[in-house]
């Protein structure tokens, strides 16, 4: 058997089902890989070797079967896993062990997926680099001096470093797609409401959505199918059938598909290498038979400003639950009363970006400013949704670069919040409108991965996979290998 850590999830599951290899062997191979490289990558905040090997043994005992049975996975530390430390990258939750599983975790367990551990992230999912983690940044396996994206940067780094074939991320403004783009992976933000948010620690409830990170489009689809579907525990969960995302991956021809290139997501502010890789891939879409047209979404330039009012507003309310009373950190000085304990605990438990956003949200929601800020932002949200609705009257999917640039050096934007926020300029519109969106690797710029974003209407997630699988196959064929095959080997060090 070849190196078990380089197999895709689909290959791994087949090999386990055919008894060519045991799930315990596969899990151990990934635990060994983590031990070998995670000192450099720092993708994981907690590795649950014991729990993972137990879950693998249950698959080997024949207790669970299915398309992902025995496949290891890295779980973003924003999802509650019973009895396993869940920090959200924050000191305020250090040592907290949830008394329940998120629905995503329950579904992974039922599918026989082996959860290796919890991955690093920007604190409470606020950031684009993992530099806002209270536990130090993760590193991009393509170049360890660069960011792996964020907030799901640990999940992306783990998959790109072959520490796991699959990972779960969450995406509020691009936090799955941007790390996928800069690490050379496939990342999907499902339709809002497509995947349950029960047990996902809330940042911005109207925008948060969990989804898959993987090395191939098919692997992402298998994971998407495993976690999606209605959940009565989440009142915003959509009670509709999950589109056939796995079946859509058989697509190799795009005849009859109309693809719209979004004029406003490109040009000024986008790196030349990113634009070049993107446009070369759009030509491949044409070669695959797609009808490619340019479309305009005139209100997209206002998506970023609207997002940075809506998300902080919701976060200032959601994070009020961290009050030092029932769980998490409590800093008790002398016989200070409850309100003082709360203020002191939050001062010591939250990092600067979380504090900035709580203050910004409190401002945007305050009397006298509410209409000018939060109210106006909600109207912009309507305009963004209308832009999408109009575009999808004439096209099946929209495409753009996922990010304006490739992975930047750690530290470059750490002291400039506005510069960091621009990382998500192309991904935010989909969160505001709640539609489905994928990033897949489309080429290199300066030796670093570039992501192409595909956007589909709400509940048409299968279109992402139809277009993504065809493009991936064509690009791999032209390249003669996957993009990730050109990433450096982390263990070949002097």
């Amino acid at each position: 058997m070849a190196d078990l850590t380089t197999l895709t999830a689909a290959e791994t599951a087949s090999a386990i089902a055919a008894r060519e290899v045991s799930a315990v062997e596969v899990t151990q191979a990934h635990l060994d890989r983590i031990a070998a490289v995670d000192g450099d990558v720092h993708a994981f905040l907690h590795v649950d070797a014991e729990g993972a090997l137990e879950a693998a043994a249950r698959v080997d005992a024949g207790e669970i079967s299915g398309p992902l049975a025995g496949v290891p996975l890295a779980l973003k530390d924003v999802l509650a896993q019973r009895g396993v430390p869940t920090t959200c990258g924050s000191k305020i939750l250090e040592g907290w062990r949830p008394p329940y599983d998120a629905t995503v975790v329950t579904r992974l367990r039922e599918a026989g997926v082996v959860i290796l551990g919890k991955t690093n992230m920007d604190e409470f999912a606020m950031g684009s680099s993992t530099e806002n983690s209270a536990y130090g940044p993760s590193h991009n396996p393509w170049d360890l001096s660069r960011i792996p994206g964020g907030s799901s940067g640990g999940s992306a780094a783990a998959v790109a470093a072959y520490e796991a074939p699959l990972a779960i991320g969450t995406d509020t403004g691009g936090s799955i797609r941007q790390p996928a783009a800069v690490c050379g992976l496939v990342g999907v933000k499902p339709t809002y409401g497509g995947v349950s948010r029960y047990g996902l620690v809330a940042f911005s409830s109207s925008l948060d959505q969990a989804g898959p990170l993987a090395r191939t489009v098919l692997d992402a689809a298998l994971l998407h199918a495993a976690i999606a579907g209605h959940d009565p525990m989440d009142s915003t969960s959509i009670d509709a059938p999950v589109p056939d995302v796995v079946g859509a991956c058989a697509s190799r021809d795009l005849t009859g598909v109309t693809v719209g290139v979004v004029r406003e997501l490109g040009g000024e502010g986008y790196e030349a290498g990113v634009e070049a890789a993107f446009h070369a891939s759009v030509e491949v879409l044409t070669a695959l038979g797609a009808d490619v047209v340019e479309v305009s979404c005139p209100h997209f330039p206002y998506a970023l400003p609207a997002y940075y009012l809506i998300a902080p507003s919701e976060c200032s309310s959601n994070l009020a639950r961290f009050d030092a009373m029932r769980f998490g950190l409590r800093v008790q000085v002398g016989d200070a009363g409850a309100e003082e304990v709360m203020a002191t605990t939050r001062e010591q438990g939250f990092g600067p970006e979380v504090k900035r956003r709580i203050i910004l949200g409190t401002y945007a929601l305050s009397s006298g400013y509410y209409d000018a800020y939060y109210g106006q932002a909600q109207k912009v949200r309507t305009l963004i949704t209308r832009d999408f609705d109009a575009a999808f009257e004439t096209v099946d999917v929209l495409v753009s670069p996922t990010t304006p640039g490739v992975a930047f050096p750690i530290g470059e934007k750490a002291d400039d919040p506005m510069a960091m926020y621009l990382s998500d300029i192309a991904s935010i519109p989909s969160n505001l409108a709640g539609n489905a969106s994928m990033s897949l690797p489309c080429g290199l710029a300066g030796g670093l991965p570039v992501g192409l974003q595909i956007i589909a209407p709400p509940l048409a997630d299968d279109r992402l996979y139809r277009v993504g699988a065809a493009l991936e196959a064509a690009l791999d064929e032209r390249r003669g290998a996957t993009l990730l095959a050109s990433a450096p080997s982390l263990t070949a060090r002097p």
Partner: protein
């Protein structure tokens, strides 16, 4: 266009949010928030009175479920994760007679 945010306003907002801030943080945040607010205020450029607000992309109201008894979280497990517990209950700092 709203007026620039002052250091005192930031301190007031932090107090409202039960968030102590150091003097150094207040200085940094006031400057950064002014830049951020200057940028996000652009939302005012495009909206008109006849545009309805969107609070949520999924148009749902009042989702109900059957009123059936289900197991709840285990009390001991929940209290084990609390900062302090006593006699099967959360123990919290004093709520009354807050220091002035």
């Amino acid at each position: 266009m709203p007026e620039p945010i002052t250091r005192d306003e930031v301190a007031h907002l932090a107090r409202l949010a039960r968030l102590e801030c150091t003097d150094a943080e207040l200085d940094t945040f006031a400057g950064q928030l002014e830049v951020i607010l200057g940028s996000v205020a652009r939302v005012a450029e495009v909206v008109a009175d006849d545009i309805p607000p969107t609070s949520h992309s999924v148009p749902l109201t009042n989702v109900f479920r059957e009123d059936v008894v289900r197991p709840s979280l285990d009390r001991d497990e929940v209290l084990a994760a609390a900062p302090a517990a006593e006699d099967g209950r959360f123990e919290v700092p004093r709520m009354l007679d807050e220091a002035p």
